[in-house]
């Protein structure tokens, strides 16, 4: 079966596309940024410059198709004015794409986000927990889940919704907290944590995300599952950044409120897909260390 991947040159897509091709499946890779097209991914990969917000091109052929929906506009905005644009970049065109494929479409894997749960006080979010979307991006993700669920029921395709924790790894934006810790650690600066000592998050390496999506592609299970590694205190993540950088000092925890807690319980993903994260934060940050040091 051929797989269409939207957002094919983003953080996850750039690793996922060759992974799917390596299994022998044809991949139609769509991205807004033609400059990132990489013809070296092999004869099974067909790159197309596509901006979903404008229009999805017709999908040629008559073969069965699956779609991995990665395209989205990531934003931390809470401004209602930003929501229409976010819907135009993800929920609306992905729904239209799925509908346009008709009976050819056999399965969709949709990349949702841990942000649909909002902040929690303790523990880890489970799939049946009430949603409290954190921002416009999270509202848009919840809307996309609802739209695709509605369409899947009537059109008859399988739907795997993966609610993914905070992704890091090659290609990740340098603006995240983990990269801030690594930057400071490598440059000899104090590593500062702008959060309370108990504040926690959930970080997952992109290789584990690609593996989860691959499992969903193989299983074609209709389910909504969390993909994460579980809670880790932000202060401990900073400590790991220091350790992989060869430093023995501790991070400075300013105990200032900076956002809230987020973490995912991934046990359902284990039960339904056989998912288990394999890249520890220590291993993942050690891999990133060389890239961060090189960029300085």
């Amino acid at each position: 079966m051929r797989w269409i991947v939207t957002g094919a040159t983003g953080l996850i897509g750039r690793h996922l596309v060759p992974a799917i091709a390596a299994t022998g499946s044809r991949v139609t890779a769509w991205s807004r940024t033609a400059a990132d097209v990489r013809p070296g991914d092999g004869p099974l990969v067909d790159f197309r410059n596509v901006d979903l917000a404008l229009a999805a091109p017709p999908v040629d052929g008559e073969d069965d198709v699956g779609v991995v929906m990665l395209a989205a506009q990531i934003s931390g905005s809470k401004d209602p004015a930003d929501l229409p644009g976010l819907l135009e970049a993800d929920a609306l065109p992905h729904t239209a794409l799925a509908a346009s494929l008709g009976s050819r479409l056999k399965h969709v894997v949709y990349a949702s986000s841990c942000t649909v749960y909002g902040y929690i006080d303790h523990g880890a979010s489970r799939e049946a927990d009430p949603l409290r979307p954190l921002n416009a991006y999270a509202i848009e993700k919840a809307a996309a889940e609802f739209m695709l669920e509605g369409l899947a029921r009537t059109q008859g395709f399988g739907l795997s919704v993966l609610r993914i924790a905070q992704v890091y790894g090659p290609g990740a934006p340098d603006a995240g907290a983990l990269y801030g810790f690594l930057d400071a650690a490598v440059s000899g600066q104090p590593v500062v944590v702008n959060a309370g000592p108990g504040a926690f998050r959930d970080y997952i390496h992109v290789d584990d995300v690609v593996h989860a999506i691959s499992l969903a592609i193989d299983a074609r299970a209709s389910c909504t599952v969390n993909i994460g590694t579980g809670p880790i205190r932000i202060a401990d993540a900073a400590r790991v950044a220091l350790q992989v950088s060869g430093r023995s000092d501790d991070p400075q925890v300013l105990a200032r409120s900076s956002g809230g807690n987020m973490a995912l319980d991934w046990s359902l993903a284990h039960d339904r897909l056989g998912f288990e994260p394999t890249v520890s934060l220590e291993t993942g940050l050690a891999r990133e260390l060389a890239r961060v040091a090189q960029s300085m």
């Binding site: 809470k78 401004d79 209602p80 004015a81 929501l83 229409p84 819907l87 929920a91 609306l92 729904t95 239209a96 799925a98 509908a99 009430p130 409290r132 979307p133 921002n135 416009a136 509202i139 919840a142 809307a143 609802f146 739209m147 509605g150 369409l151 029921r153 009537t154």
Partner: protein, 283 residues
């Protein structure tokens, strides 16, 4: 019709009201503007002197299962809320969003309280829930904006869409002098008459403290509904098919405590008005 009724109530209380809709509705004392909010630019703002916005725009119709229906529903019930909030200039101090008891979902235990878990299971309920999330997010960004969310029970009355089972019962009674109900007699539902809903919305504009409130008509059984309809006819038989259903009813005590609101229209009177209206339309 709910918008027109609420506007009339606000005008009668001395407020200056501007009405915005895709369709022209003449309401005495209301300055009406024909506008499609989905087509406005990001620079659009509510009138400069607007102090409160009542957001009633949206669609109640069950979406068709095709993508155009789902998209239209999402845009009408979620994107419109976002655009309406984005159009609030600093002069707007209060935003009232009309939500629905459908945000509670099938698993909720009636009567629903405002802090009952929200697990909407219909697409309509999910879009109304998303609209609430947009309101909550906007308030996070702008804490001085007073956001009021009203979760209304099923509104009925002159001009309301005849989509509720109440109208099906009336139509049957008018046609056959009998009612066949696909439920048991003890099944609980909650209907709120149009003018009572309008009064609640006006109170939400005028004085209820910011927050989320249920507003219902007090709830009734299907047997009570059938009896109310039957009282309008010389002979009416009701046959209940039986079966278990899920009670749907809100607890309105928080709104009542905050405003003194109490529905004035009994089920018997509201049903009688609708029976007379529908009978007149048939003649």
């Amino acid at each position: 019709m709910l918008g027109a009724a609420t506007a009339a109530r606000l005008v009668a209380a001395g407020h200056t009201v501007h009405g915005f809709d895709r369709i022209e509705h003449a309401v005495a004392g209301v300055t009406t503007h024909r506008v499609d909010l989905l087509g406005i630019s990001s620079a659009f703002r509510w009138p400069d002197d607007a102090e409160a916005v009542l957001h009633l725009a949206g669609t109640w119709q069950s979406p068709t299962s095709d993508p155009r229906g789902l998209t239209a529903h999402l845009r009408a019930n979620v994107e419109l809320v976002a655009r309406s909030l984005a159009a609030c200039a600093p002069s707007v101090r209060r935003f009232v969003y009309v939500s629905s008891m459908s945000v509670y979902g099938r698993d909720a235990v009636a009567p629903y309280c405002e802090d009952s878990p929200l697990r909407p299971d219909s697409f309509y309920g999910r879009t109304k829930w998303l609209g609430e999330q947009v309101c909550r997010m906007a308030q996070d960004l702008r804490p001085e904006l007073e956001v009021v969310i009203l979760r209304l029970a099923q509104v009925y009355g002159p001009g309301t869409p005849p989509r509720v089972v109440l109208y099906d019962f009336i139509a049957q009674a008018l046609a056959n002098q009998s009612i066949r109900a696909q439920c048991g007699p003890d099944l609980v539902r909650d209907h709120l008459y149009l003018t009572d809903a309008a009064e609640a919305l006006a109170l939400a504009i005028e004085r209820v403290p910011p927050g989320t409130y249920n507003v219902g008509g007090g709830g009734h059984t299907m047997a009570e509904l059938a009896a109310a309809i039957g009282s309008a006819f010389p002979i009416t038989t009701t046959i209940f098919a039986g079966g278990s259903g899920v009670a749907k009813m809100v607890d309105s005590s928080a709104f009542a405590a905050a405003t003194g609101f109490s529905p004035r229209t009994s089920l018997e009177h509201g049903v009688r008005v609708e029976v007379d209206r529908m009978a007149g339309e048939r003649r």
